[in-house]
Symmetry: C2
Subunit: 360 residues, 2 copies
């Protein structure tokens, strides 16, 4: 089991440099570390002065790195799909198209990176995986895949299973699910296939929402705009149930008040070689951070930790057993406890970074 | 018809600030301008000191701005889908799910932004649309959607039309295509639906590859890493057939040699208010840039302009009438002229930024 570490912040705050320095800190004390670089503009390869390929390569003792290659992963997965199609041979869609032809559509980077993270984690080869992703938005979208996709599968799986469309598609989905997720499904039933797929997504969600498995840090500089951006990303992460363990501030400004109650690590501008010492203890920290969600049945209140946001930036809606919260251009559905299901959200206010939603 | 302008560069090079300054330059000389801000960490809203909503609002004379809201667009499109389902009523998948519940999966931002760009363009309300997107990778993925998705639709449309799966799905796709793309399709035939969809994507591709309609600029600073990143994004853009019209360099370094033969606009670090004067003439420039693709049948050569890349970074493959080029974790399929179809690529070398592929 690996812990994934990822830094969130506005472009130009030095995320790649800090990621590399944190990775070195861990590798030098004997931890097995992998750095995954997603962006073509990321500087980790340039900082290491090693051309990175799509597979992990050792760049320093205990430290492996790769430049994530979506095209290579599309090829690998396409080969699996074609093989599954050959074997089942009820459908002829994939086999006439070769893996070397396939272009990249938006979203594939994040879906495939998520799936690759799962494989690297299951490999047991790493203690830490440092993920240097793209912009804040796409990184959050990626870590939210198990949660969000899980919701779609739950919500549509049943309807699809009942519909004639679903019955036709079932033998089509089954080999796809089986070959891409490395899971076994014994039946052609759409319901069982989506059920097994749901299980995988639920496991993924539990991993993403466990701070021992995914820990995010905010990065800011002296620039107040970088603080505003970090606070937005903090709120967005919390809405998705991801754990932000602290903030790293490069520079002299005292931004502690902007990140309360998170620990803030202030570090001086320094050459890359001097950074690891300043970052010690962050990757394996067990930060005490506010619980993302507190349900208090006694006072009929749901409390959601949404720091960095104001009430105007948050929108609530309720459908049956679900409370939906929208903020930072994201949406999360919370399943309410049974005792709340006949109640309606009657008020919402912010206190201490928590949005308190009361029901009546 | 609007011209879309977008800046590509490493995080922290000041893309948002420059975007705003360029937009002001145009608005102040009477052009009708829209700024679209995609990233939660983008600073345009903060620089304008106006809270931006999901719909265009006038922030200065002739200048409208919005913060792209994927969740809001999902809602709008979902309503259309549900209405189409109500009307057709052969399928019951959408109507039980409310638009306010839908989460955001990776890629939706870019697909919806692309579709919204089309709507703003068709509205005829703007001369210029400044698009301040996310990281370089996702922005390129987005502008490449018509090209890449068009390939998938062409390649799979026929196979799907012939297969029993396609025959079942046809009445399902038709209202989706019709309601989401605002196009009319007269029939339930999968082939006609995908054909009409292909037409829309071909139009989109023509727009994206026309420098009068989409013009990209690279942004770099004194930091050599920002130059390396800009060069990668340049090569990636060219591979996709997008036009980079020049480079904007903030600072004192002389990087002209890195961007030959593009015009380089050097600008001094200055407060936002002083920037517009330095950026005059860029948004409505008609830069003479190398042709992205030159096919010379006489010497059996295909020349693809791929600046910033070396031969090692480019991979070629050929299947029947298609030459596939892979670089910067992207892939593009070029349809070869009829006279090349019995030939095989026999050699490739770089000269003057062009990859020259000879056939024998």
């Amino acid at each position: 089991m690996a812990r994934v570490i990822s830094l969130l912040g506005k472009g130009g705050t030095g995320r790649s440099t800090l990621t590399l320095a944190m990775a070195r800190t861990e590798a030098r004390r004997g931890k097995r570390v992998l750095i995954v670089n997603l962006e073509p503009t990321s500087t980790i390869g340039l900082l290491l002065d090693v051309p990175l390929g799509g597979d992990p390569q050792e760049v320093e003792p205990n430290l492996q790195a790769l430049h994530f290659s979506t095209t290579a992963l599309i090829e690998r997965n396409w080969k699996k799909l074609r093989a599954a199609e050959e074997e089942y041979s009820r459908i002829v869609l994939f086999r006439e198209v070769y893996e070397q032809e396939l272009g990249v559509l938006p979203g594939l980077d994040q879906f495939l990176a998520m799936s690759a993270l799962r494989d690297w984690d299951l490999s047991g080869k790493y203690d830490f995986i440092f993920f240097d992703g793209g912009s804040g938005l796409d990184q959050l979208r990626m870590f939210a895949v198990p949660e969000q996709l899980g919701w779609y599968v739950r919500r549509f799986g049943d309807a699809l299973g009942r519909s004639p469309v679903g019955q036709i598609l079932a033998p089509f989905f089954e080999p796809i699910t089986r070959s891409l997720l490395n899971i076994s499904v014994d039946t052609d039933s759409m319901r069982q296939t989506t059920g097994r797929f749901s299980d995988v997504l639920n496991e993924g969600r539990a991993v993403m929402q466990d701070p021992q498995r995914l820990l995010l840090y905010l990065v800011a500089t002296d620039d107040p705009l970088s603080v505003a951006a970090a606070r937005r990303l903090w709120g967005g992460s919390q809405l998705l149930g991801l754990t932000v363990g602290g903030a790293i501030v490069r520079g002299d400004a005292d931004w502690q008040g902007n990140f309360d109650p998170l620990p803030v690590r202030k570090i001086a501008h320094a050459p890359l070689g001097d950074l690891p010492a300043q970052l010690e203890g962050l990757a394996d920290a067990n930060p005490t951070v506010p619980a993302p969600l507190v349900i208090d049945e006694a006072v009929r209140t749901v409390r959601i930790f949404l720091p960095g946001l104001t009430k105007k930036q948050v929108e609530l809606s309720q459908y049956g057993p679900e409370l939906t919260v929208r903020a930072v251009d994201q949406r999360r559905n919370f399943t309410l406890p049974a005792s709340f299901r006949t109640l309606r959200a009657s008020g919402a206010k912010f206190a201490d970074g928590y949005l308190n939603v009361t029901f009546a």
